[in-house]
Amino acid sequence: MSENKIHTENMFLYYSEKMALNNISITIPEKKVTAFIGPSGCGKSTFLRSLNRMNDLIDGVKIEGKVMIDGVNIYDKNIDVVNLRKKVGMVFQKSNPFAKSIYENIAYGPKINGVNDKSHLDEIVETALKNAAIWEEVKDRLGDSALGLSGGQQQRLCIARTLAVNPEIVLMDEPASALDPLSTAKIEELIVQLKEKYTIVIVTHNMQQAARISDNTAFFYLGELIEHDKTKKIFTNPDKKQTEDYITGRFG
């Protein structure tokens, strides 16, 4: 594995009293695609959301242990969550464009970061849309409402919106689960391209998807990290029987 980008040590997460993540220790390498797989409710999305502290928005969530990004514990008291989220972007399961124009959706992030120069913004918007492989489809209608785009286009727009803030890590929570096969293929292709510049962590229910696009795969079950290894190894020769049972479809 190349340089460590994300590293957790003995991390526990509780919803009120209920333990949702049990002693997670994992190292996620830079500029690779890491997939989290596992049955519903296994904690993979919860874990993903704790990497940019989106769980802070939920009442009663308590986290113990270390969650390090670039060697810094992101749950330290002096961490600015706003800055953390600029560095660790997130794409959600359901595409969630703002009720604004395509242009304004992308420009939203840079603007709140103080970019006001029109030509600079134009440049950021164009680059982000190109990086998200949607520029050709929308370049002639940047002023139209983003809500008029198809589901697949909306999701790529949301990816572009995340890229426009220039993050280092992009977290994706089942980004293609609500899309048709063609749109899914486009998103997958895009994810593979994105790892050149970004560290990608993706939660997916679709094991073929994990096998196709990820370099490393982590299998979660009942709040525990069962196994984490090269994707090839996980899918061909896993160490743990639970992993094998899940991969071969015996449960989940």
Binding site: L57, N83, R85, M90, F92, N96, A99, V165
Partner: protein, 301 residues
């Protein structure tokens, strides 16, 4: 057999009674509107709307009352809408759903909504005029009477208190229609909470804020009790400023029907004034209903 007939008859009778009650409601509305329109329609002229009362209020128009009502609801909105919106923002965006403070605020809002309006009037008199106004006079005017008496400002603020619950509830409802996913998207882009509220949540609830404002205005335009002690005047020969008493439609009707030297002579003006007030509140309420319908439709999509 006979039992069955009896049962059927009983069922039909109950249905009939309930239907009759329901139809009665429609009848009341129709009768009310018809009587008022027939009585008032001859009065609805530009002349009536734009001139001062004359001949001891037995002739002339109701312009000062329209003017006073307009100023009253404008100043009231300027006070109630921002205050109510900010409260609603606290309740939906900042307060935890079941925290003691949120529960207490909601209880206070509900309580404000059911307090009889005459009590608002008394509160306005005691608090704004006797307490605030008198203190202002004592400290700024050396005790001479300026603000320690009924006027447009105190009446508007009293009315603002009365309409505050309407604004808070409408804005809260509108803020809740903005999907959580959009807040999450904004925060995940590194926006602060306030940036998220300002740039995503509030633009998404403009129509709700407008609904709240319109409902508040329509409530305020028709209420008389809160301004009885705080600023409403019987008759004024000039248009009011902030520190003056003022004429207002609702109170004008009361004055014409009970205080006039010749009630019969004022009858057409009573009808005309009632007609104007009714039309005003009706139009305001309809626009609020339409706006609200649009918000619900948007929410369901």
């Amino acid at each position: 057999m006979i039992n069955n007939i009896r049962k059927n008859f009983k069922g039909a009778a109950i249905e009939g009674v309930t239907l009759f009650s329901a139809l009665l409601i429609i009848a009341i509305v129709i009768v009310m509107f018809t009587v008022i329109f027939i009585g008032g329609k001859s009065q609805l002229t530009w002349e009536f709307l734009s001139s001062f009362p004359t001949d001891g209020m037995t002739k002339g128009g109701i312009f000062p009352a329209i003017y006073g009502t307009a100023l009253l609801v404008i100043i009231m909105s300027i006070a109630a809408v921002p205050f109510g919106t900010i409260t609603a923002i606290y309740l939906t965006e900042y307060a935890k759903e079941n925290s003691i403070i949120a529960k207490t605020i909601r209880f206070a809002v509900r309580t404000l909504a059911v307090i009889p309006s005459i009590i608002y009037g008394l509160f306005g008199l005691g608090f704004f005029i006797k307490f605030v106004g008198t203190h202002v006079d004592n400290s700024l005017y050396g005790g001479t009477l300026h603000w320690g008496q009924p006027n447009l400002l105190w009446a508007s603020l009293t009315m603002a208190l009365l309409t505050l619950p309407v604004v808070i509830v409408s804005v809260e409802e509108a803020l809740k229609t903005v999907p959580q996913e959009l807040r999450a998207a904004s925060l995940a882009l590194g926006a602060t909470k306030w940036q998220t509220i300002r740039k995503v949540v509030l633009p998404g609830s403009v129509s709700g804020i407008m609904t709240g404002t319109i409902l508040a205005v329509s409530r305020g335009a028709g209420e008389v009790a809160p301004i009885l002690f705080t600023g409403a005047a019987y008759y004024l020969a000039t248009l009011p400023g902030l520190g003056d008493q003022f004429m207002v439609l609702g109170y004008h009707i009361y004055v014409l029907t009970t205080q006039s030297a010749n009630v019969d002579q004022t009858l057409p003006i009573q009808f005309g004034t009632t007609c104007v007030l009714l039309l005003l509140t009706f139009v305001l309420n309809m626009s609020a209903v339409i706006l609200r319908y649009r918000i619900r439709k948007k929410k369901n999509n």
